[in-house]
């Protein structure tokens, strides 16, 4: 089966994997909107959505159906092509991140060893960063193309916030890369999984806190949700959007949350590693399934943390946001990087 000197089964297996991961992350995003509302409700002593289906479990389907059935409005003064491109880019960028995340070790099916990772490229984490910064274009283009003052303002805020926080994020990441010596997410996870090795959070507690704060800013989550500050900007960059185009923006936010949780879990919390369990002693297929569940558990914990923070603290003012980003996070990240480098040099020397 080597037509054109290509391994066609490999392509088929990757296509299936892509389909599974994309639909799974969309499904999880759908239910993240539901759990967001439930968590918000429970933290505020309310029961939350409980009418659609048992315990309100069909609520996200009803929400999705509502979004699809709504009238599709494109404002007269909007730039049509860009107006449509905005949400498409936001969603594409959000989903593209999942390509390099190692979901688990490999499974053996039909005599083939299948890696549960779409592409183990050697610059994995750089790819994540590149794609995540593309997401800002979705916000920027959408807000600008709407031809609305508030949307434009929100888009500007989103762009400047993303640029400021990506710096600190990248700097705190460099410290991790210095420890691991590799840009491949798979290698970083495998290093943390090795017997006797600790998770990176042990070596990089400050780096993780910085990375987490920046990830929140990248996902436009409260307290950094200035691009969609309802009470200042009506609704933010997606004010003119309706129907599923609005849905794409909203879903993209949740997919982004899931992906940054996965990245954080892989970088700092051992990815699909189960603590105090030697995976190599298990059958490879069982180990892979346990790995997926372990990574999903970590993602869910991170998602809860995101929501918990959102429903606890208020939004930053714009100058506070910039002060925090440039005057606190970046110097701290630089310091962290220097300290890590010094310790590594001292250990070698």
């Amino acid at each position: 089966m080597t037509l054109l000197a290509l391994d066609w089964i490999l392509i088929l297996e990757k296509l299936i994997l892509i389909a599974i991961i994309v639909f799974a992350s969309l499904g999880i995003a759908l239910y993240t909107t539901f759990s967001e509302r439930k968590v918000a409700a429970v933290l505020q002593d309310r029961p939350g959505p409980n009418r659609a289906g048992p315990m309100g479990l069909l609520q996200p389907l009803a929400d999705g159906l509502k979004l699809i059935m709504k009238e599709e409005i494109i404002p007269n003064s909007a730039s049509k092509a860009l107006f449509i491109l905005g949400p498409a880019m936001a969603m594409t960028a959000a989903l593209m991140t999942c390509a390099v995340i190692p979901w688990s070790s490999s499974v053996e099916l039909f005599g083939r060893k299948i890696d549960l990772q779409i592409a183990d490229i050697n610059i994995g984490i750089l790819y994540v960063f590149g794609v995540v910064s593309m997401g800002v274009y979705g916000i920027m283009i959408g807000g600008w193309a709407s031809n609305n003052k508030f949307s434009l303002m929100a888009a500007l805020r989103g762009a400047s916030q993303a640029i400021s926080y990506e710096l600190a994020m990248g700097l705190s990441l460099i410290a991790v890369l210095m420890i691991s010596g590799s840009l491949s997410l798979k290698t970083i996870v495998d290093q943390q999984m090795a017997p006797g090795a600790w998770w990176n959070i042990v070596y990089q507690p400050l780096g993780f806190i910085l990375f987490f704060i920046c990830a929140m800013a990248e996902c436009n989550r409260t307290p950094f949700d200035l691009p969609e500050a309802e009470n200042e900007l009506n609704m933010g960059y997606h004010q003119e959007y309706s129907s599923m185009k609005l849905g794409f923006y909203l879903f993209a936010e949740y997919v982004n949350m899931i992906m940054s949780s996965a990245v954080m879990a892989s970088l700092y919390f051992g990815g699909y590693d189960v603590p105090f369990l030697d995976e190599s002693s298990l059958a490879p297929n069982i180990a892979a399934i346990i790995g997926v569940l372990s990574l999903l558990t970590k993602i869910v914990i991170f998602l809860f943390l995101f929501m918990w923070i959102r429903w606890t603290i208020p939004r930053f003012r714009y100058d506070q946001l910039m002060n925090l980003g440039w005057k606190s996070l970046i110097p701290l990240a630089l310091l962290n990087m220097l300290a890590t480098g010094a310790v590594i040099l001292w250990q070698q020397g």
Partner: protein, 179 residues
């Protein structure tokens, strides 16, 4: 200056200490507070399935009473309409014909009796003005409606069902708590 209550708190304008400028300890404190709310009892009443208990003096939707034999009490004297501060009540009187004695208690009755529930302030003065014990405020309230016209309640909405022939509807019209 003497404070009116002891609840006023002096706002501190001191520059923030280092721990405060870190923000994180206070954020963690706030998150602990919100987390503790997960375990609090929710005060929500799931409305259509559960209903809040009214107090015994609750003044709700009006009912027009019947006597023990199921005859209408109202004689269309108009005292309720006069007493009504919101001018929500209108009525038209009619004379009882021979053979209608089982329907109306006295020689005169209300052929038309309307209360505009949007005007009504549920003060209960009509109840006090009535010499025939004909109008009472029940322990139910007016449900939502799509039009303003829907809130003008006629006699068929107000008249209480006959206790002898339809006891369940009678209880529902009076309200749950008082039967």
């Amino acid at each position: 200056m003497q404070a009116l209550t002891n609840r006023a708190k002096q706002v501190s304008r001191d520059p923030m200490t280092f721990m405060e400028r870190l923000y994180l300890p206070n954020i963690v404190k706030g998150m602990a507070i919100t987390f503790s709310h997960i375990f609090k009892k929710q005060p929500t009443i799931q409305y259509p399935e559960q209903k809040r208990e009214f107090s015994p003096v609750f003044r709700g939707l009006h009912v027009l009473n019947r006597d023990e034999e199921g005859r209408e009490n109202c004689t269309a004297c108009g005292l309720c309409a006069v007493a009504c501060p919101a001018e929500a009540i209108t009525m038209e009187a009619a004379e009882r014909m021979p053979g209608e004695e089982h329907l109306y208690r006295e020689e005169k009755y209300a052929a038309k009796y309307e209360i505009n529930m949007l005007r009504c302030i549920f003060c209960g003065l009509c109840e006090e003005a009535c010499p025939k014990d004909a109008i009472y405020l029940s322990e139910t309230f007016a449900p939502a409606n799509f039009t303003r016209k829907g809130f003008i309640y006629g006699k068929d909405d107000l008249l209480i069902p006959d206790k002898n022939t339809a006891p369940e509807e009678y209880a529902a019209a009076r309200g749950a708590a008082r039967n």
